[in-house]
């Protein structure tokens, strides 16, 4: 792990910057709070403070700096606040509790995995169709690109309602929205991958008079593996975003998306940050997992 040193340094730098930024981000609310509690702050008028620069305020009220790290509704929570909330909601709570982030993480993860499976399956099928049918290639591809310019957050509620109306509820609608986001990278990658064999490799099969399906299983599919894994990594991250987006209109405010939503609704910034961090950890782990599968598969195929 020769990257450990640089990564740790960068992380340390980020934390340092983060800690440094906290007083400036939080000074105004902190001063208002302190003023209410009877402290003397300069300037003593909240409207003047609103229009003043944070920099000047911190300088003039340096006594307030410690308090900026312990706000209930911080604009920027300090790292240790997020960490202790994460600890509380993951380790300290029973994982079946609705207050446990593990519980919510699992809800999101299950939708993500199902959606990823659907999206990957659909993506591969579509790619196979595109590679084998010129009509499909020419007509579908431009619209697949256009489909990605549609803001998913706008149509997610409609998808949920429409599926609802035909009796599909629960995990599946969320998974479908998650699939909508993850299928595109898979299509693009797989089309590239299935077309990766060069003319010579294709001609070789022709000299053997191989059938189309033999060509698919013995040449196109194996040749597409590196591309498949590259797009799976993008796809799984997209699937996670999709699952989180789908949780907003899915009702019940369950899952990491629900946590972010209710966090925002009740002004609990720390809760949003914890959910965010956990989502990023989830995404990174999923990508790592796929990377592992990639290394194993490609190694067995002799491609590394």
């Amino acid at each position: 792990m020769r990257n450990a040193g640089p990564i740790l340094t960068v992380v340390a730098a980020i934390f340092a910057l983060w800690y440094l930024a906290v007083p400036f981000m939080n000074v105004k609310e902190t001063l208002t709070g302190l003023e209410r509690a009877g402290a003397v702050v300069t300037p003593d008028n909240p409207i003047e403070r609103r229009d003043a620069s944070s920099f000047g305020l911190v300088l003039k009220n340096s006594f307030a700096i410690p308090a900026t790290y312990a706000q209930d509704r911080p604009r920027l929570p300090a790292p240790h606040q997020v960490a202790s909330d994460l600890w509380d909601t993951t380790v300290e709570k029973k994982i079946t509790s609705k207050r446990s982030l593990v519980y919510h993480g699992w809800i999101t993860l299950s939708a993500t995995l199902l959606g990823f499976a659907i999206g990957t399956g659909a993506g591969i099928l579509l790619a196979v169709g595109i590679v084998h049918s010129r009509a499909m290639d020419m007509s579908v591809m431009p619209w697949a690109i256009a489909s990605q310019t549609i803001p998913i957050l706008a149509i997610a509620p409609m998808i949920i309602v429409v599926l609802n109306s035909i009796g599909v509820q629960g995990l599946v609608p969320k998974a479908i929205i998650s699939a909508y986001l993850s299928f595109f990278p898979v299509v693009v990658g797989m089309v590239k991958g299935l077309r990766a064999p060069d003319a010579m490799q294709l001609d070789l099969l022709k000299t053997y008079n191989a059938s189309q399906s033999q060509g698919f299983w013995k040449l196109r599919l194996p040749a597409s593996m590196p591309y498949l894994f590259a797009s799976l990594k993008i796809g799984v991250a997209a699937a996670l975003v999709g699952a989180i987006v789908a949780e907003l209109p899915a009702g019940g405010a369950r899952g990491l998306g629900g946590r972010m939503l209710t966090g925002s609704y009740y002004g609990q910034m720390v809760q949003i940050w914890s959910a965010l961090v956990l989502a990023a950890v989830l995404a990174a782990s999923l990508v790592l997992l796929i990377g592992l599968a990639q290394r194993l598969t490609l190694k067995r195929m002799g491609l590394t």
Binding site: P46, A156, G252, G258, T262, Y265, Q271
Partner: protein, 310 residues
């Protein structure tokens, strides 16, 4: 069939004491007593209950009347079958130090408003006051406010929309004292619109079996509401148990229940025609782009409550 006794209720927000009556009725077995199997579907900022109703995802919904009437005009004939909330909890909350004392002082200020159908009472109010809503020194700058109170706390807005039972409490929880604030209840300004009514689809109501189901539903729900009013702490506990997000706190829900009880207090479930007419008048008066353009017909019925309250 099985549907004869099952009811799906679509809420218009996440699980909280605002909907205590229904959770209590379910939890205390009032629905069961009526032979009903009720599913309560929580909502959220991205859920439009009328859409869910139209799609068949729910049998009844809770809604604010402006939004319900708008849906009617858009060709979705929803009908108010009961009105457990008598008074409106909507208000504007402003910093006192901005110098705002009366609505006329809004000129030149920035105000956070909930959209999603809830902007009409505000626009109607401003047009009554003669204040344009497109910014400038003589008008107000309107922000589409998210569903939290940070814009006020961080002074991105001078006033924001709050509900007496929820956001206002959050402002106070943030350490702000009431004498730092000025509030304008829509109720006091004469622009209140009916909130949290129970609506069903007109077509469904033509079916006697469905109607009967609604009668039983409303009866049990009102029983739940009255129980909640009398036992606010227990009701808050029940709500907490049903919260799937795990984000609500006991203190918050208990206070909310107390405030909600004030709004439901005056209602036995039946819609007061005067309230309806005032709501319609407010909406028809609303500015250049009114939410409804003509007097709605058949937008409410007393048949269900008449039967339920017999």
């Amino acid at each position: 069939d099985g549907h004869a006794n099952s009811v799906k209720l679509q809420l218009q927000w996440v699980t909280q004491a605002q909907f205590a009556g229904y959770y209590v009725a379910k939890d205390k077995g009032f629905y069961e007593e009526e032979g009903l199997d009720v599913t309560v579907l929580a909502g959220g900022p991205d859920i439009a209950p009328p859409q869910v109703l139209a799609g068949g995802g729910a049998d009844v919904m809770l809604n604010w009347m402006p939004s319900a009437l708008a849906a009617r005009e858009k060709g979705l004939p929803v009908v108010n079958i009961a009105q457990p909330f008598k008074t409106s909890g909507l208000m504007l909350t402003c910093w006192k130090d901005t110098g705002i004392k009366s609505p006329q002082d809004f000129k030149g200020k920035t105000i956070g408003v909930w959209f999603f159908g809830n902007e009409y009472p505000f626009l109607s109010w401003m047009s009554q006051e003669g204040i344009p809503t497109d910014g400038g020194p003589d008008g107000v700058t309107v922000l589409k406010q998210g569903f939290n109170v940070d814009p006020l706390l961080q002074r991105q807005a001078d006033c924001i929309s709050t509900m007496t039972y929820n956001e206002f409490g959050q402002v106070l929880d943030a350490g702000v004292s009431e004498d730092e604030l000025v509030t304008f209840k829509y109720e006091d300004q004469g622009v209140a619109t009916l909130e949290d009514g129970i609506y069903a689809l007109e077509d469904n109501l033509k079916d006697p079996a469905f109607k009967d189901k609604m009668v039983r539903f409303v009866r049990a729900s009102m029983k739940g509401w009255k129980y909640a009013e009398e036992n606010p702490d227990e009701a808050a506990e029940i709500v907490l148990e049903n919260d799937e997000s795990g984000a609500q706190t006991e203190a918050h829900q208990k206070r909310m229940m107390g405030e909600i009880a004030k709004l439901t207090a005056g209602s036995n479930g039946a819609l007061d025609e005067a309230d309806f007419n005032r709501t319609v008048a407010t909406l028809l008066a609303g500015g250049s782009d009114p939410v409804i353009s003509k007097e709605p017909v058949g937008a409410w019925t007393s048949e269900i409550t008449d039967e339920a309250l017999k």
